[in-house]
Amino acid sequence: MVGAGVVGAACAYYAARAGLAVAVVDRGPVSGGTTGAGEGNLLVSDKEPGPELDLALLSTRLWRDLAEQLGPEAEYEPKGGLVVAATEAGQDALRTFAAEQGHAGVTAEEVPGERLRELEPHLAPGLAGGFHYPQDAQVQPALAAAHLLREARRLGAVLITGEAVTSVERGPDGAVRGVRTAHRELLAPAVVNAAGTWGGELAALAGVHLPVLPRRGFVLVTEPLPRIVRHKVYAADYVADVASGSAALQTSAVVEGTPGGPVLIGASRERVGFDRTMSQEVLRRLAGQAAALFPVLEDVTVMRFYRGFRPYLPDHLPAIGEDPRVPGLYHACGHEGAGIGLAPATGLLISEQLAGKRPELDLAPFRPDRFREAA
């Protein structure tokens, strides 16, 4: 497993549980990449019916089991999501979307405008309505990954951090034989690319094209507050932003409380490479949109912000499964902003494939060789 983020951790956990001998290697620390910069969303509410929603629904079930396995340390909270619409037209669109999701197995309950404050007492007045998604949940992503890895290590997995993979070794038949770092060679008939936003680089080491690109996001962190936001609350345009392929800056309010006290405020999306420069415009929009949803936030203090780079593939679906171009090379990356949520399903499906079983979901939509290299 190359990558000690949440996806690598989940792959390691399920593979070790299936009895495989596993090593996890990362050039940085545990949760050092996008996992450590995530909000920990486990969402079905923002996904339209299709392969990604199927993954999310499987993950929702798996996270519930994992929460029991890992204990309270992962800060799993089945708190539910609340999507709100400012206008009647927005509410109509949400209703249509929720009906389609319902056929795929998503539970969504319509909340009329006048009853929104029963769920969220501090919401701005005058909203048209919303939908409550009880299946949405949250974990603290860095802790979730670390505890998954701890479980994997208890089952015999080996964790190697601070060592970059410098090459993917292949035999005369082209099949993978393992990886090399500056300090060691790790021999294995299977290599799993769980390198997240850097998955394209690892694929290139194995000689294949996988166009994972960074999509930058900022999250504002407030001072510790009493529980003033109970659900994961977001505005209806978030769904459109998530599904968009635009490179331009998009922001839509996503607000949630945390067990530690601070309120997290997202979400921005822009394709600017790995540029870490703070953007006043992003800060302005995130703060303004959050205060529009929860006017009480106008009086709070923002302690810091963090930023991360979502691993983005052109069709917004991750790459999961064995690469037909290189026997023994598996991909588990490109989950964009949904990696925390989709990690357990990804790990389970990969481990099933590794063990020679038929994965319980069809992996065809996630085929890693579905992208044509630009000429």
């Binding site: 802790l143 601070g162 962190v221 303004g288 959050a290 302690m303």
Partner: protein, 477 residues
């Protein structure tokens, strides 16, 4: 000088302590228009801290070494202000520097409740944000009555009050003697000054010390004051525990080995009603590291900005003077402020100024090396000692993150324990967390010092910002 947000300046100086003051007046001497920003309401910074107005302090100079140097700088500033070349703006807390096509936009909050947002634009920025205190936790360090050595001095300088009547001064570094001497002069009893090192490092490099005679005079001055009050430093020792329930009632002091490991059986109890603890200072460089400025670890393990001979950082248009380049005191800060002003104005400084800065910097490095915390200091921690007092994270939790969860660096420890996520944003627990995260076998632990991995703390905001101000956007946008 116009004060509208539309103005465009040659230079913004951030921090009106010795380095920033010297930089601003020298830049103005050389024809630059500049604004000098500071969080406080008067110039002088932490070093030349004033008594609060209204206390009627007749002789603030008695608490200060080099007060005449300060008044000289303040008079030059006043003259430039009258001529409209410089403007001092107090009560400004800078939270971000933003690079623009023309130079920089400096973002700050202003006012008693941080009620206003201000943006100041300039071609260049001189960062003179000084330093904050390095703290190393010990059992009982969160009890009322435990203050920092710098905090005790600040209380004395600004409020003319003492943290207690019987005050143990402990830690390491030159600030201890200065603090102890101020405290006894102000009437406190100091039953012990507890210094972790043996001052031996100074004796090993006498030529560096001899090159800065003023430092010897300053040191001798503190020493004389302490002798007069029969206070003798207890060397190679540390406070390993503070006792008390509602408040400090005493401390346990133990001897340390060369690595700062407490020697069992050497413990002695000393009664007191306050402790002033200091382990030196750490450069306050968040505004620059957020822009990606190059840093380096000093001889004390503290991360400072890397600057060239003209005090230029690796960020174009950004200069830095004083403690931000490695802690070295007021005289060095002044020399660096003057050098930075010359460099950014394209003027050649006197060679004597360069030589003076080199001598003072060499002494600062010697001092830093002498008081570098040894790796054994963690020996006085207990599993239940809080490392991060904001988030109440004990030592055991940090060790669990390192040993069980695979964290090997401060950032990951923070993610997994919340240490450093509270109000102080890790300014208090940063060094301790860095040290405890360097678990056995990791690269960081091989450096052999009790200061953890080298690498700057990253704080995206220089200080907390009201959400409404972020939402409002730039004042003239």
């Amino acid at each position: 000088m116009p004060t509208s947000p539309y103005e465009f300046l040659d230079l913004v100086v951030i921090g009106a302590g010795p380095g920033g003051l010297a930089g601003a007046v020298t830049a103005a001497d050389l024809g630059k228009r500049c604004v000098l920003l500071d969080g406080g309401h008067s110039t002088g910074g932490q070093y030349y801290r004033h008594p609060a107005p209204g206390l009627g302090a007749a002789r603030p100079d008695r608490l200060h070494h080099g007060w005449s140097v300060y008044t000289g700088l303040a008079e030059r500033l006043a003259e430039h202000e009258r001529a409209g070349r410089v403007e001092f703006r107090g009560g400004h807390h800078v939270w971000a520097l933003e690079r623009t096509d023309e130079g920089f936009t400096v973002h700050a909050t202003r006012g008693p409740d941080a009620g206003d947002r201000v943006a100041v634009r300039a071609r260049a920025v001189l960062l003179a944000t000084g330093a904050y205190e390095r703290q190393l936790p010990f059992p009982g360090w969160t009890l009322p009555g435990v203050v920092t050595a710098g905090g005790a001095q600040a209380m004395l300088k600004s409020g003319l009050v003492l943290p207690g009547q019987r005050i143990v001064v402990a830690g390491s570094g030159p600030l201890l003697l200065a603090a102890a001497s101020s405290l006894v002069t102000a009437g406190a009893r100091v039953p012990a000054v507890v210094e972790a090192t043996g001052y031996l490092a100074y004796a090993r490099r006498p030529h560096v010390v001899a090159a800065v005679p003023a430092k010897l005079v300053e040191g001798a001055g503190h020493g004389t004051a302490l002798l007069r009050h029969r206070v003798r430093p207890r060397l190679r020792s540390a406070v390993v525990e503070a006792h008390g329930t509602d408040r400090v009632t005493g401390v346990t002091v133990a001897r340390l080995d060369a690595d700062w490991r407490p020697k069992p059986g050497t413990e002695r109890r000393i009664d007191c009603d306050a402790i002033a603890v200091g382990h030196g200072l750490l450069p306050q460089i968040d505004l620059a590291t957020e822009l990606g400025a190059d840093t380096l670890a000093g001889p004390d393990g503290a991360v400072a900005l890397a600057v060239d001979a003209g005090m230029r950082t690796s960020v174009p248009g950004l200069w830095s003077a004083g403690e931000t380049n490695g802690v070295g005191g007021a005289d060095l800060a002044i020399a660096e402020g003057e050098l930075a002003a010359h460099d950014l104005a394209g003027a050649e400084p006197k060679r004597s100024l360069r030589r003076r800065r080199a001598r003072l910097r060499a002494f600062a490095d010697l001092m830093a090396a002498a008081h570098r915390p040894g790796p054994g200091w963690t020996g006085w921690l207990r599993p239940d000692t809080d490392v991060c007092r904001c988030e109440e994270v004990p030592v055991a939790k940090v060790r669990e993150a390192v040993e069980e969860l695979g964290a090997g660096d401060p950032r990951t420890v923070k993610l997994l324990t919340r240490a450093g996520m509270g109000w102080c944003q890790g300014r208090m627990c940063g060094p301790a967390v860095a040290c405890l995260s360097a678990g056995s076998g990791s690269a960081a632990s091989e450096s052999g010092a009790g200061v953890g991995a080298a690498g700057p703390d990253r704080r995206p905001f220089g200080c907390p910002v009201p959400l409404s101000q972020l939402a409002a956007g730039e004042p003239d946008a």
